[in-house]
Structures are given as C-alpha cells and as structure tokens.
Amino acid sequence: MKCNFKISLPLYKLLYSMVFMFVMALIRPTVTPIEILTVIEPNLCFLAIVFVADIYYCEFRENRINVFYLFPDRLKYKAVVQRFLIDFVYLVLLDLIFYWIYILFQNSNLFTKEIISIYGYSILMCFMTVLFFASLSVTMVNFFQNMWFGLVISLAVWFVFNTKVKEYLPTVLNIFAYKITPEINGGITPYFFNRALYMVVGIVMLIMNYLLVKRSPMRKVKEGKK
C-alpha cells in the first residue's frame, strides 16, 4: 500500500491538481453555495480524467510493462485497484477542501445550515461522478493501451455532458443534471439517481479492468501493428 501511494501520488500530481483547482476557483467565482456544486463537480471530473489515467499506463510509459506482465494477474489487478482508490480518495479530499475555498472567496457566513447541507451534497455527488470519470479514463487508456486515445475519448464524454449536446440526452443520462426546487437550496437540487447509475457503470468498468490488465502488452505487435 505504501509503495502504491508513492507510485500513484507523486509530488507533481499533487502540485498540478491543487494549482488546477485553485486557478479554477479564481477564474470562475461563485455567488451562492449551490453554485459551487455546478462548478466544482465538472472541474473535479475533468481533473479526475487526467489525474487517474496513467495508474496502469505508467508501467508502459516507464518501460516496466514486460516485467509487470509476469506478475500473477490477481496481484497485478489488486495493485491497479489500490492505485485507483488512492487517487480517487485524494480527489474526493480535494472536493472536501476546495468547497471551503469557494465559500471563503464568496465571503459567506461559514457553517450555516444551507452551506453544511450543500457540502454534504458536494461530497456525495463528487464521490459518484469522480468515480465514473476516473474509471472511464483508466478503462479507455488500458483498453487502447494508449494514453492519448484514452484521454481524448474520456474528455469527449466529459465535453458532451458540459455542452449543449447534453440537452438532447434524457435527464437520466445527464450525469450533471439538476432539478428545479424553488423552495430549497437556492433553486436547484442535484439528481442523485443518474449519478448513482453512472457510479455503478464506473464500478463495472473498474472490474472489467481485470481483463485489460491481464492482456499481453505485445498484443498489438503480434497483430502486425509493430
């Protein structure tokens, strides 16, 4: 576990993730606590795609894959899942911290009932959506055994949910959907059902990675793509 910690959370990742979140908080100021959710969740998902993508691919990039491949499949997969969980927990922690940074930028009164309840929403939402996007990114990169293919596909999915295209999707398929609730939470409340649905998809993809980690890294060479 300690080694997986050092492998999946190197200093440069810690630095760029914090800088990214901080810059986002600076360039996209919010006015109400509920607005923080609409900003922090997609930002964190974007970060998750880039942050988690190489937890297995680093073995390819750093020329260790031919040795890593020889390890028993179960233990290889266990290491990849551990690395994933370490990065995932770190991203959720970022949400826990940066929510308050947004609040501080708003000069709001801290610890009001609304702020605390929206904080709870924020943790729950980011837990589910970050898990989906992180899992999508890892799965795509591992499937193609190519960092750029995996990143481009995952980022394309993210863009779909953050552009007008999402309006053509049924609400249940819109991962960042909110419902109008004029009486509470400043007018909108997140849909949790669709987020939970995507979380389940994320867990399934993570399980499927067992098959991807098991494959020979030289599969493409044998297929003549040398």
Binding site: R64, P72, A79
Partner: protein, 297 residues
C-alpha cells in the same frame, strides 16, 4: 531445461521474427548472439509469454508454453529486459519489497530473500537510496535482484551490460555466473566479450534463423584457419582489401595499418602478404554470420 522445436513467429505484415528455430537449453548460462533484428528479443518474448508463436513448441521444464499454461510458465521466469524503468520515488529496498509482494512471495521468506539479494548484488549500502538517484549499473543490479526475487528456474537477461563501465560489466557478468549455477540463464547480448567470459554454449541468430548452436570452443575451432592479419601501407590498400573481405579489426600504428579479417581461404590481394592468426570469439562470430556472403564475394 528448455526445448524449442520448429519455432516460428510471423507478424501480420508477413515478417518472420523467428523462422523454424530448434534449440535445447540446459542448466547454466546460455548465450544468445545476433545483430539487431536477428530475433533475440522475439525469442525472449515467446519465452516470457509476451508473444504467442505462430508455429512450433516451446517446453520450459516440462511445461508446454501455451496460453493455458502461461500462469505456470510466468511463475518459473525471472526477466531483466534491456531497458527496465524503476519506480523513481521508491527506494531500492521498497522496489524489491514491492516486486516481492506483486510476485506473491511468501511474506515470511520475503525479508530474508531481500536481504540475501541486497548483499549479493552489493546494494545493501544503497538500499535507502531512491531509484532516481542510482547510477546505470546500480539500476541494472536492482533489475537483476528483482528478476531473482522469486527464485526463478529460468532467468532471462537481455543485454544487461549495455552502456555500463567495464567494472560494472564485470560485476554483472560475475553475478550472472553465480546465479546461473543452479538454474538456466538465457543471456542475450551483442557484446561478444561478455558471452565469451560467461557462457559455454551459445546460439547465433540471423534474420530469425538459427545459424549456430553449440559450444563457444567449437565455434572458435570452426573459424580456425579463416582469420588473417596483415600490415597495410596506405588507405588505398585498405580499401582494396575491404572490397573483398570482411574486416574484423583495424589499427593505425607507426608501421602502417594493422588489419584483421575473416576469409574462407587465404586472401589473395596482389602485393599484400597475409598471416594466419588465432581466432577470437568475435572473429568466429563474424566468420559464421558472414559465411553466406563469402559465396557472393
């Protein structure tokens, strides 16, 4: 013991990485020699189950290397590829602990095994250094230690001495000799000198085909009476000789240009006198791998 029968690996683009290769490798260090693209890496990739052959059989210690047995085969193998990246933020000890855990080494025996390997590879004093702080030779020794952590029956090392200074090269070679006493070691290299000082038997591959398989001594004997030297007075003379013969050595001295060459018969260049010399393994390798060219010349 490794038995390789009619092994062929053909890529989809039609190129044959290996073409009908037959080999028997017993305990001890077995050398694998050949130019770049000869098929050495392909053979090692088949043995490490990274590649599935198109045709032929490979049997490692009575286990047939087929996809159903890959798990079993992988357990028997320790592998040090030519370029092995290390986890930059882990220390030497952590690297070995991590590899041991990933290999499923018994946690009780793990500590003892790591201590033994750190001692044997002279890495004990560097165990707390991070991999990114290590020299090339130290990294290679860590690579060798990680390959041996499971006590493999077959150790495969791919050009382990490339880019190392002479002292480190000798150290790595000696380690291989020590570790090769009770297991099979497949030692791939194009540094002929390394093979000469570690192996008894070797195989030469060329364009995917086996062109020699036997003892080093026999290979040298084959080249006996086919290696010559002479002293040339000018570059023009050298060019005349080079046009017709395979030069294996060239040295400028006060007397002229001292050259060494291989030839099927006594070289015949007007005005130049050639003398027989005792072949080295390098001469023998060049002679063997150029044999078919002699016909053309």
């Amino acid at each position: 013991m490794i038995e390789i029968r009619n092994l062929t690996v053909q890529y989809k683009n039609g190129v044959k990485g290996l073409d009908n290769v037959n080999l028997t490798i017993s305990n001890g260090i077995y050398g694998l020699l050949g130019e770049n693209g000869a098929g050495k890496s392909t053979l090692m990739n088949v043995l490490t189950t990274l590649l599935t052959p198109t045709r032929g059989t490979v049997i490692v210690n009575s286990v047939n290397v087929i996809p159903q047995n890959y798990t079993k085969v992988k357990k028997m193998i320790g592998y040090l590829p030519q370029e092995l990246g290390m986890y930059p933020n882990l220390t030497v000890r952590e690297t070995l602990e991590y590899v041991a855990a990933l290999s499923g080494v018994n946690p009780i025996k793990k500590k003892e095994k790591i201590e033994y390997l750190l001692e044997r590879t002279s890495l004990k004093e560097h165990e707390k250094k991070k991999n990114k702080q290590l020299s090339g030779g130290m990294k290679r020794r860590v690579g060798l230690a990680q390959a041996l952590i499971t006590d493999p029956q077959l150790l495969i090392v791919d050009e382990p001495t490339t880019g190392l200074d002479p002292e480190e090269r000798i150290r790595i070679r000696n380690l291989l000799v020590d570790f090769g006493r009770d297991r099979s070691v497949l030692f791939s290299s194009h540094v002929v000198e390394d093979l000469a000082s570690t192996c008894n038997d070797l195989c030469i591959l060329k364009k995917g085909k086996k062109i020699y398989d036997g003892t080093i001594q026999h290979l040298i004997c084959e080249a006996d009476n086919h290696v010559f030297s002479c002293m040339l007075s000018s570059e023009e003379e050298f060019l005349r000789v080079q046009e017709r013969y395979k030069i294996t050595g060239k040295n400028y001295s006060n007397e002229g240009i001292d050259i060494r060459l291989v030839s099927r018969s006594v070289p015949d260049v007007a005005g130049i006198e050639f003398q027989y010399v005792k072949p080295t393994l390098e001469d023998a390798y060049i002679y063997k791998s150029s044999s078919e060219k002699f016909e053309e010349i």
